[in-house]
């Protein structure tokens, strides 16, 4: 690290030519030996910077000793799915949907080309169309909910 102790900064507590940010580096033990020595000497000589450094030390100790309540272990029993599981599930769904669509088209074509009367064909197609519309409605709702449903991403 280069020597920055003599660079002028307007915000140093003492108003001297001193890079105040080095106080943070000194506090965190992130300075080179040379910079550390210069900061130490400056602090011995400068009550303003010494007071500022003491404040910083106190605040850091306060934050480092802060403890937070963490959920109990039994709330962590859900394990995220792995990438293999996710991708295989997506591919599986794509294949199943393709297969179902193909099968449905084939059956519909068989019915349309069959010997049934127009009334019979209307009843069959009407029923199928109703089921398909209901399925599309449920599917669209489900797809819309996926981005905000975190339970799709965990094993129960």
């Amino acid at each position: 690290m280069t020597d920055r102790t003599q660079h002028p900064t307007a915000s140093a507590p003492c108003g001297r030519r001193f890079a105040e940010e080095l106080l943070s580096g000194y506090l965190d033990g992130a300075l080179t030996q040379g910079d550390r020595q210069r900061v130490r000497l400056h602090l011995e000589d400068c009550p303003d910077c010494r007071a500022r450094f003491q404040e910083m030390t106190t605040l850091r100790e306060a934050t480092m000793t802060t403890r937070f309540a963490i959920p109990a272990d039994d709330q962590w029993d859900e394990t995220p799915r792995g990438a293999l599981s996710l991708w295989s599930r997506r591919l599986g769904w794509a294949l199943v949907v393709t297969w179902a669509a193909g099968l449905a088209c084939f059956l519909l074509w068989q019915i349309a080309a069959g010997p049934e009367s127009l009334l019979e064909k209307t009843v069959i197609f009407g029923g199928i169309l109703g089921v398909v519309l209901l399925f599309i409605s449920v599917l669209s709702d489900r797809l819309r909910a996926i981005p905000t449903d975190r339970y799709t991403q965990v094993h129960k």
Partner: protein, 229 residues
């Protein structure tokens, strides 16, 4: 500003103290199929390697090791337990789906923390679209429970008060200042790890951190001014 709370000895994050003490599951304590060694002794890096090879026990232990620090960081960034759980769950999913992209030789935790941070930012931005202020002004602690652990009642109360003031003041800092303060002073990351998480040059960490500390100090002074009779 008067900050005369007694300074204690070297502090460590609660997560680091409790790391590895969690309830062990049968799968996690079982010998690794891939490596034939006791998983509990393995480093995070080793667990990542074995998980990539399909070792489910290693993956299970890696998840148990990482989810608590992920939650803790999410909590400190989001300041709300429910949001923190959402972010931690999302981040863990992303973490496990990107194990192949973790550079060999680099520590694992900064990668995890970077994911948590990004997920937290995403969620905060989504929340800001719906709700202008993500942190309720009348509830600066955001429902987060701060746990006091000091044995001496007087020092404990004094320090706890300062901790609460700092925690509340953090809520009013900018997102950038809050992030770097959390990573350094709550998570105790090194400057190099902070640079990795925030994706900034290591040389700018010190100056940015110092600006954040000054902003926190100014905020505390402002809080004292507004609370004085």
């Amino acid at each position: 500003m008067t900050l005369d709370t007694p300074i204690v000895g070297p502090a460590r994050d609660a997560e680091k103290k409790t790391r590895g003490r969690g309830k062990a599951s049968p799968t996690a304590t079982a010998p690794s199929v891939a490596a034939g060694v006791d998983l509990e002794e393995a480093t995070d890096r080793q667990l990542v390697t074995w998980t990539r090879r399909g070792d489910l026990a290693a993956g299970d232990l890696l998840a148990r090791r990482c989810r608590r620090p992920a939650y803790l960081l999410a909590l400190q960034l989001m300041r709300n337990p429910d949001d923190a759980m959402d972010v931690a769950q999302d981040a863990m999913l992303r973490f496990f789906s990107t194990l192949d992209r973790i550079d060999k030789g680099r520590p694992v935790r900064p990668w995890l923390y970077a994911i948590v941070r990004n997920r937290a930012r995403d969620l905060m931005r989504r929340r800001q679209v719906r709700r202008h202020d993500p942190i309720a002004a009348d509830d600066p602690e955001g429902g987060v429970e701060l746990v006091s652990a000091a044995p001496r009642p007087d020092a404990d109360a004094e320090r706890a008060e300062l901790q609460r003031r700092v925690w509340s003041a953090l809520a009013r800092l900018s997102e950038g200042h809050r992030e770097i303060l959390v990573l350094r002073d709550y998570q105790d990351l090194s400057y190099e790890e902070i640079a990795t998480v925030l994706k900034i040059p290591m040389g700018t960490v010190m100056s940015r951190l110092h600006r954040a500390r000054k902003a926190l100090r100014d905020q505390l002074i402002g809080d004292e001014g507004t609370s004085a009779p």
